[in-house]
Structure formats: structure tokens, C-alpha cells
Amino acid sequence: MKPILSIRHLSKRYGRIQAVKQLSLDVEKGQIFGILGPNGSGKTTTLGMVLDLVRPDFGSFEWFGEAPVKESRKRIGAVIETPNFFPYLSARKNLEIVAKVKDYNYDDIDRALHMTSLYDRRNDKFKTYSFGMKQRLAVASALLNQPDVMILDEPTNGLDPQGIAQIRELIRTVAREGITIILASHLLDEVQKICSNVAVLNKGEILYSGEVHQVLAVSDSFELAAHDQEALKEAVAAHPSFRSVTETDGILLAVFGDDVRPGDINEYLHGKKITLTHLTERKRTLEQHFLELLKENES
């Protein structure tokens, strides 16, 4: 089956800054695809290009297996950066304009307003809305008439915790309906909680991409000590998931991949006739891991 979105070698330069560099990726149907990267990594520029807002310098992309035309954009619901509506029009009127542009009738507007809990305020002017409500209206406009794909660029930016929870819940609800979702975010936590697939972006290039649990798998490290440190070191290095080991003040810091648990280590070392005097699991936070991904790329 053809991918929903297929990007090939997309590049964009703003003056001296290369915003997006030779970027290629595929988003398959049904995925919740996260584009993860720090601010300025090229997420918004990339989405801008596939939505015909930004002209690429180089490269191409296809929606639904076809060269992009305006008709393909009508099957996409997009929330880009800030909510963009006419301040002097009501929520309903703003959605009527969206529906008209997309060649839909107005039948689906109430459903979208209900889903985003804006129905009671539908006749109030957009400028009277709180930021959270504005953001939800943007989601409502993207939801009109069940799009095939939904694009969300930093949908929880600037929201309070309650607003963040509401938006995330909405995204999950939408995903359950089988709508493919492309989510750009600088929050690792957000991508990990919501997405099935991810591309990690830095300085306009993809560092890693794949399924979330693979790319963002946390390799745990353990503090270990035994009476015979040398034997311990050898045994640790012989472990099939071994990554690295360092020694400080008589304690080894060993890093393993593949989701190794403390019990596994204990059992493994016991089998090698080593009795541990010290075993502590040191979990790295996801944020640390993400920063390391970026750092590795820089060095």
C-alpha cells in the first residue's frame, strides 16, 4: 500500500540557515507519527512545505501516493503553530469558512464542536476565547468531516496542564478512529506517550527514525560492585547486551541495551560465580536520553 505521506530529499534554506536538509521520510496509514526535535530543528518548516505554505528549494513529496494538489489538502486536517481564525467571527462562522473551503456542507460542524467541548460557546467571537479554547477550535477545524490525516504542530504549546490533558485525550480519541496522525513536538514525553513512530530531527536532518519503543528505548545502567572487581568487569563485558563500563571509586557503572532488568544481571553474574556486594539500577530519564541523542550527533 502506498504511504499516506512520502517525503524525498526535501531541503529549505533561509538565508544562511539550512532549515531542512535532504529530509526523507514515509508516514504509513494508521500510524501516529511523531516528528521530534528541539526548537529550530526544522519541524515547522517541513510541515509548512508539505502543506504548500513554504516553497521547498529542493526535493519532493507525495500525499496519498500522488503529486500534491489542493484536493489532497482537503483530506488533511491541520493545526499549524498558532490557531488562525478571524477574531471578529464566532467559532461556528469560522468553521463554516473552513468547511466551505474544503467543499463540505455544514453538517459536521456541530460534531466537531461537541468533540472539542466548544459547543456551548459556539456563537461567541473567537477573540473572546481563552488560549486553550482557541487551540481546541483549531483541532475542531482539523477534525471536520473525518480527515484521512491529521497534522498537529506543537498542539500543546502554551497550554496549562488541564489544556494539555484535553488535547492529548482528543488526539488519542481521533487515533482510535483510525485517522493517521502526524505530530510535531519538542517534548519527548509527549511523543513517547502518544506516538507509534518517530523521526528525531536536529538542525534539519533526521537523526533516527523508526518505532517509538525502539528509537527511544532506554538502555539502563547499573552500579555494580563485588569482591573480585576484575572478574566482575570481565563477566560484565561478556554479557550479550553489554554496551559500556566505567569504574569510579570501586564501583562499576555498566550500561546494557535490550531492556535488561536488575534480576537478569544478578542471575547472570551468579551463574558466573560472582557475588555482588552492590547493585543499584540507575534509570536515565527520557529527557536525558533525548539530549544525549542530540549530543551524539554534534560530536
Binding site: L51, V54, V101
Partner: protein, 275 residues
């Protein structure tokens, strides 16, 4: 049709639109009411120094009214009001970023331009129709019974006025798409139309006085020159002018040519730039 409905949704509930349009018709109405007094006050003033007194001007009788009122309605200070409305309606899309939303939702860039061109066209047409109705009613109440052919003798000035309005709105359309910023666009447009171009005109006029009248073809001037003079016999005698009897083909072609160029430039610029 779909594009027009979308534009109407955006415009009809927009308070600023109604306020400026209201101001425009207020000024226009006041101008029409006062025009006759002002012109005749000038005539009275001049008569003090003339051996043979000039007759009082009558502005509102058929068929002169078509020429007179379109002349007063196309003074540059009046024309800029509807132009400012067009600028606001277009730059709003950029400041509210709704243009991005429109494109994302599946409007093509050309469709977006067409939707704004519809605003330009319909606004020019509606203003022309309203002014025509006003002229018709005023003319009926100020003229003795005349034959229809006599009444509509100078109706071609109304066509001329429509071209004037269409062109000035096209200039506004171009300025808005080029600058994208409401304040900047209004300031530069007004400055150009009311000060910069008259100054350029003044400096061009001297060297070219006896040659080819190049200075009358500056953009805003070309628009104003479609209806060059009001039909006031006193003026004719006083200034020894050959007054125009109708709008000329060249007079109308120049502004239309400018409009076409501006529209073409907008398509070129808007399709290339990022949003």
C-alpha cells in the same frame, strides 16, 4: 461562486468594513450636497473681478450630472476610502494568518487571489451602482422633463467611474499583497496617492509641458484623468478649455492596463513567496 460566499462570510460581519464604507458614503454625500454651493461661491467671488459676470453653475441636471458627480466622486481624497477597505480586508488575512489556514485547508494560491479579486470587482460595481442610483434620483428632481436619450447622453461617464474605482481598488489589492502589513500598506498607499505622486507629477510636468503629457499617465493620475473636468460652462469660458464631452478610449485603456499589470504581478509574487 464558492469563493464569493467565503468572502461575504468574512466581510459582512466585519465592523471596521462598515465603519469605513459608512464614512466613505458620508463624505461622498456631503461633497455632493456642498459641491454646488462651493462652485457657485467661487463663481461669485470671480464675478467681482470680471466685467461680464459668469452664470451660476447647475450641477445636478441631466445629462451633466453624470459627468459632474463622477468627477467629484473620483477626487483622489475620496477614492482612497474604498481603497483602504480593500487593503484592510487583504492584509487582515496575513495578520490573522488566515491565509495560511485557507491554503492548508485546500485553497490553491490562485484561488485565494481570485477570491480577493472578487472583492475588488464587486466592491467597485456596488459602489458604482449606488452612486448611479443617487445621480439618477438627484437628476430627476433637478431636471425638467427630458427625453431618455438626452437624460442618458453622458452616461458613459458612469462606465468611466467604474473603471476608475476598479483600478484604484486594484492598486490597493497590489499594495496589500506586496506589503502584507495593514498599517504600512495604508500609510504608503495614502502617502503615494495624495503626496508622492502629485510631487512627481509636478516635477515631470515642467520639462514635458509641451511634449507628450507623459506626466498624466502616472498610475493614480491616469485614474483621475478618466473624468477630467466637471461639465461647468463657466469653467469652460473662464479657463478657455475644450471640455470633454465623453470619456475617451485612451483615458480608460491606461488605467485598465495598469490594473492588468498589478494583477499579473500579484499572481507572480504570491505564488513564489512563502506564507
Amino acid at each position: 461562486m464558492k469563493l464569493l460566499i467565503i468572502e461575504l462570510k468574512k466581510v459582512l460581519t466585519y465592523k471596521t468594513f462598515w465603519i469605513i464604507i459608512g464614512l466613505y458614503f458620508l463624505f461622498l454625500g456631503l461633497g455632493i450636497v456642498m459641491a454646488e454651493y462651493i462652485v457657485n461661491a467661487m463663481v461669485d467671488d470671480m464675478n467681482k473681478r470680471l466685467p461680464i459676470p459668469l452664470p451660476h453653475a447647475v450641477l445636478f441636471n441631466f445629462p451633466d450630472i453624470w459627468q459632474n458627480l463622477t468627477f467629484f466622486a473620483s477626487i483622489r481624497y475620496v477614492l482612497i476610502f474604498p481603497a483602504i477597505v480593500v487593503i484592510i480586508l487583504i492584509t487582515n488575512e496575513f495578520t490573522n494568518k488566515t491565509v495560511r489556514q485557507n491554503i492548508v485547508n485546500g485553497m490553491s494560491r490562485n484561488e485565494f487571489i481570485f477570491s480577493k479579486l472578487q472583492v475588488v470587482f464587486w466592491m467597485a460595481l456596488v459602489i458604482t451602482i449606488i452612486l448611479t442610483l443617487v445621480m439618477f434620483i438627484l437628476g430627476l428632481s433637478h431636471s425638467d422633463s427630458q427625453s431618455l436619450s438626452m437624460m442618458f447622453n453622458r452616461f458613459n461617464f458612469v462606465i468611466g467611474f467604474f473603471i476608475q474605482m476598479l483600478t484604484i481598488l486594484c492598486y490597493a489589492f497590489f499594495t496589500a499583497f506586496l506589503l502584507r502589513n495593514t498599517g504600512l500598506a495604508i500609510a504608503l498607499f495614502t502617502l503615494y496617492a495624495t503626496i508622492i505622486e502629485p510631487v512627481i507629477y509636478f516635477f515631470l510636468r515642467a520639462p514635458f509641458m509641451w511634449e507628450n503629457k507623459v506626466y498624466t499617465y502616472l498610475p493614480v493620475n491616469a485614474v483621475i484623468r478618466v473624468v477630467e473636468y466637471p461639465a461647468i460652462p463657466a469653467l469652460k469660458r473662464l479657463m478657455n478649455l475644450q471640455l470633454q464631452e465623453s470619456v475617451t478610449l485612451l483615458g480608460c485603456a491606461m488605467p485598465l492596463l495598469y490594473s492588468a499589470v498589478m494583477i499579473g504581478l500579484v499572481f507572480l509574487i504570491f505564488n513564489r513567496k512563502d506564507l
